[in-house]
Amino acid sequence: MAAALASRLTKGRSLLGGLTNAFSGLVSSSSGSILSQQQRTFIQMGTRLKVVDNSGAKEVMCIQSLRGKKGARLGDIVICSVKESATKVDVKKGKDAIQKGKVKKGSVVYGVVVRAAMQKGRVDGSQVRFDDNAVVILGIKEKKTDEKGKEKKQNYKGGFNQPLGTRVFGPVPHEMRLKKQLKILSLAQHLV
């Protein structure tokens, strides 16, 4: 629990940088409150997310949210850049095996947010929130032009449904069903 609290204080703050986000005012005003309780916001450019599958990446940074002007929420797809990936030492054999060499540091990937620290409203009126921001990688974004110099079109409007990895760790919310991420639901250990 202490570790979780520490990580929250260091990682959880959204990167404001040069962003003139409408939300920045709200975030900065509440960050100085007593008890240092954070106002959890959207997943936006610069947000670090944990990767909870065995695709090879460990930590990823959001560079674009494909839904929402303010940022992504639970269940939305984001474009990310891999900041940290599994080293050769981590690669194991068998069921636990990390998909070797699929996702390397610096590659740009699509991911779906499976856990968000910001609460999401459910149809029955309740609100759910998780302990951290986590993502499951769906596909690697290919470069716009291939070797021949032609422009490649990558279809993402239809939506990615197949995760890159073969295992998903941690709890997964029911929101995945609405977002048609059924494979992730079937791989999940716990459903919330």
Partner: protein
């Protein structure tokens, strides 16, 4: 629709209220309002926070063991809808509630009774020992020595004299 209990204060959470927090070990914590949620974030132990049901149960303030509680236990088996059963259940809920609340009130008054008797005893003692704080020391003696004096009716003679 399901009514759940708040993890912190043990009150019922109705639909549309509160937040549920899912920890990474997939344990779900439900809170009825932000007060409970904030206390949880502060890492307070509900068994030590005086206004929670957990504290009251742990310290014997509230009734914990009674047959009426068994009616409220969670059952994971769905029941087939039967109109008569539903009607009877609704009536029973009201009755059981009433019985439970009277029993709880009894438990609390039983708990407070010896203290009331103690308080009464100490009050009587105080009157005996410290009566001087209520009444003046001299006045008590005078009260007991009140004597009745008879007054003769010679008034009529005196009045006639004055008039003349």
């Amino acid at each position: 629709m399901r009514l759940v209990k708040c993890w912190f204060c043990s009150s019922t959470i109705y639909p549309g209220h509160g937040i549920q927090f899912v920890r990474n070990d997939a344990k779900v914590f439900r809170f009825c309002r932000s007060k409970c949620h904030k206390n949880f974030k502060m890492k307070r132990n509900p068994r030590k926070v005086k206004w929670t049901k957990a504290y009251r149960a742990a310290h014997g303030k509230d009734m914990t063991q009674d047959k009426t509680f068994e009616f409220e236990k969670k059952r994971n088996r769905p029941e087939r809808y039967d109109r008569n059963v539903t009607e009877d259940t609704l009536k029973a809920i009201k009755k059981i509630d009433k019985i439970r609340s009277t029993r709880e009130a009894d438990h609390i008054s039983k708990r407070l009774k010896p203290n009331k008797q103690k308080a009464l005893k100490s009050d009587l003692k105080e009157i005996d020992q410290h009566i001087n704080l209520i009444k003046a020391p001299g006045s008590q003696q005078q009260d007991s020595e009140k004597v009745k004096v008879m007054v003769s009716s010679n008034k009529s003679v005196q009045n006639e004299a004055m008039e003349e």
